[in-house]
């Protein structure tokens, strides 16, 4: 006797509600919406500045979230900063900003300055961490954050604390053993965890089809007995909505949720990469049309939350923040060499 576990993927598209309804449904005020927009824009502008600084030879390296701000701000907005835990990955600048890191924080890291709150200049930029905000220090080897995030969430559960942990990674990183082990541990113990996969279609040059044999990363959730949700990552409100639902589920003690945000990296992998060798300019142009910021801007303009004047104002204030951060970081002190071997151990 045998049976084939035939798995059928049943798609459940939500009714596409109008923005004003959605705003009401989601419990958003206008200022929430503007805040989300602002964080997305701020991330983009900071990011663009970093690329300029890198080209100018002022900073050594950039790795960037351009194109993924919708997924990042939508997800982070569902968290309670300082209460929930965020264990992000290197593209998550917009997440870090949403939780409360400042432009100065991020540019200090780019310059490797001692005030960099993530690492005191020890790590490459984009390794976000800030203890007071519960943004957990991250490393470069991908997917190590998965079992760690499961452990953080296990501790929350064991100690009966009202905390949810969100961890994120790229779709390529789901190929790592740690992805599997982390999801499995989390699901066995039904810990309050959200796993956000930012599927930007490439792992450096390697396209999805060489990374996995399934169309959706969310297909992997089934093997862990957890829900797998596919969301348009360039629709910030949709991402918020599914993350908020996962957050509630986690708080109800029902365990982890895997969210796959379909999105795209609009620029090369990093300042060391030339993406022209592995993807066409047409493909990139096609995705540029779906830029989550342009799209959200249009929506906000359409429903009247934003008007061109206000938009200009906002952009001006963001430019100011970016300039301020750049100047501040550039002027800030480098670590002294006495810092080199400090904090290897507790008593250093």
């Amino acid at each position: 006797m045998h049976r084939e576990v035939q798995v059928k993927t049943v798609e459940l598209p939500l009714p596409q509600t109008r923005l004003d309804n959605r705003v009401a449904d989601l419990g958003f005020t206008e200022s929430d919406l503007l805040r989300m927009y602002e964080k997305m824009l701020l991330a983009r502008k900071l990011d663009e500045r970093m690329w300029i600084l890198q080209r100018q030879g002022k900073i050594a390296f950039v790795i960037s979230g351009q194109g993924q701000e919708g997924a990042q701000v939508g997800a982070a907005y569902a968290l309670r900063p300082g209460q929930d835990w965020l264990h992000p990955y290197y593209r998550d600048m917009a997440m870090a900003l949403t939780i409360g890191m400042t432009p100065r924080d991020l540019l200090l890291a780019c310059y490797g300055k001692t005030e960099d709150p993530s690492s005191g200049g020890r790590q490459m930029p984009a390794h976000y961490g800030k203890a007071s905000l519960r943004i957990v220090t991250g490393s470069s080897p991908v997917a190590t954050q998965l079992p760690q995030a499961a452990g953080i969430a296990y501790a929350s559960k064991l100690m009966g604390k009202d905390e949810v942990t969100l961890t994120s990674l790229g779709e390529g990183s789901t190929s790592q053993g740690d992805f599997h082990e982390g999801l499995n541990f989390a699901s066995v113990h039904r810990v309050p965890l959200i796993i956000l996969v930012e599927n930007n279609q490439y792992a450096i040059s390697v396209p999805l089809a060489l990374q996995m044999a399934v169309p959706d990363v969310a297909d992997r959730a089934h093997g862990y007995g957890m829900p797998g949700v596919v969301v348009d990552g360039n629709d910030v409100l949709a991402v918020y909505e599914v993350t908020q639902a996962a957050h509630e589920r986690a708080r109800r003690g029902e365990g982890p949720t895997l969210i796959e945000a379909k999105t795209y990296r609009l620029i090369p992998h990093s300042s060391d990469d030339d993406d022209r060798v592995y993807r066409s300019r047409e493909e990139v142009a096609e995705w540029r049309k779906r830029d989550p910021i342009v799209r959200f801007q249009q929506t906000l303009l359409d429903v009247g939350v934003l008007d061109p004047a206000r938009d200009q104002e906002l952009r001006a204030s963001i430019d100011e923040q970016v300039n301020d951060a750049t100047q501040y970081a550039e002027a800030a002190a480098f670590p002294t060499i006495e810092e080199g071997d400090r904090f290897v151990y507790a008593d250093d």
């Binding site: 835990w85 960099d116 709150p117 993530s118 690492s119 005191g120 020890r122 790590q123 390794h127 961490g129 800030k130 203890a131 957990v136 220090t137 490393s139 080897p141 190590t144 998965l146 079992p147 760690q148 995030a149 499961a150 452990g151 953080i152 969430a153 296990y154 501790a155 929350s156 064991l158 100690m159 905390e163 053993g177 740690d178 082990e181 982390g182 499995n184 541990f185 066995v188 400090r342 904090f343 290897v344 151990y345 507790a346």
Partner: protein, 327 residues
């Protein structure tokens, strides 16, 4: 005072720390209902329940990775790797993560945790239940590596490890688990991490070792005493950070140094000790710094004669001691 084996000392240290501090918990494969394959966690599941004494899925990277997360969120996990041989799937979580979290976060995050692992050969475990792994991890800044050789030290060092704010790799030589008994105080106590112990004073040569080899070295020293050779035996106990002061002091006294370990000699931990002596006690040396380490093979083979060939023994050690004494 009650007399205890090494494994009983391990049990007692964990139990008492769990009683003292509700943040302490245990996780690993078969540590719960079964109490561990060597019985190190026996009784804890019944006493503290399955949430604090957690039988994990069979995945070492998740064991260490989730323990890191637990430590980040305020717990003090004591993770068991069932055999040291099976630590490799967790290498990334230990070397890239646990060891570096304090440093990479500029002291804003830390992971107070212990990873316990039974290591070493001599129990017919073949290539994959016999390995020594200390040399690899003793090379990693940010980790503490402890290798006790007596029940007393085991309890005191394990308690110190659980209370430490740094990630500790606590290596228990599995052949010593039930090999000897000694008095172990009932009450909790700690033995300071990072200090070697002179377990036998002597004038003619200094022997440095840890774990099972240390025990054999003591036996060999007794044999040599009858031949008129007076050996100083130093138990390194902690390999990282290493107590170089005690090592150099001993060599400056005896003028001769022999380093012993079961692990393959080439690139083994003994090389570091030899290098420390060669640089720091050069002018006191009356003979070459000698090492006696394990053979050039992956680990102790299963077959009886091959396992014996692999293993250190008091006789082999005594031979090396004699050779050095006579130099």
């Amino acid at each position: 005072m009650p007399v205890k084996t090494m494994i009983e000392a391990v049990q007692e240290a964990i139990r008492q720390e769990m009683e003292r501090d509700s943040r302490v918990m245990v996780l690993g494969e078969d540590v719960g209902r079964k109490g561990g394959v060597f019985g190190a966690t026996r009784g804890l599941f019944e006493k503290f329940g399955g949430e604090r004494v957690l039988d994990t899925p069979l995945a070492e990277s998740a064991i260490v990775g989730s323990a890191i997360g637990m430590a980040l969120n305020g717990l003090r996990p004591v993770a068991e790797i069932q055999f040291a041989d099976f630590i490799w799937p967790a290498a990334n979580q230990i070397i890239s993560e646990a060891a570096r979290i304090r440093y990479r976060s500029n002291n804003t995050f830390s992971v107070p945790m212990v990873i316990r692992a039974p290591y070493g050969a001599g129990i017919h475990g073949g290539l994959y239940h016999s390995q020594s792994i200390e040399a690899f991890f003793a090379h990693v800044p940010g980790l503490v590596v402890i290798t006790p050789s007596s029940p007393y030290d085991t309890k005191g060092l394990l308690m110190a490890a659980i209370r430490s704010d740094d990630p500790v790799l606590f290596l228990e030589h599995k052949k010593t688990y039930r090999m000897l008994r000694e008095e172990v105080p009932e009450a909790p106590y700690t033995v300071p991490i990072g200090t070697a112990k002179i377990v036998r004073e002597g004038r003619d040569l200094s022997v440095f070792s840890y774990g099972l080899s240390l025990l054999y070295a003591r036996e060999a020293a007794d044999t040599l005493a009858q031949e008129g050779i007076d050996t100083e035996v130093v138990d390194l106990r902690t390999l990282r950070p290493l107590d170089t002061a005690t090592i150099l002091q001993s060599v400056r006294k005896t003028g001769k140094a022999l380093i012993l370990h079961e692990d393959t000699q080439f690139g083994g931990f003994g090389a570091e000790v030899a290098a420390v002596i060669a640089q720091g006690a050069f002018e006191y040396l009356d003979a070459p710094v000698m090492r006696q380490g394990g053979p050039e093979a992956p680990a102790a083979p299963f077959s009886k004669p091959l396992e014996e060939w692999w293993m250190p023994s008091p006789a082999k050690i005594a031979d090396a001691m004699r050779e050095l004494a006579e130099y």
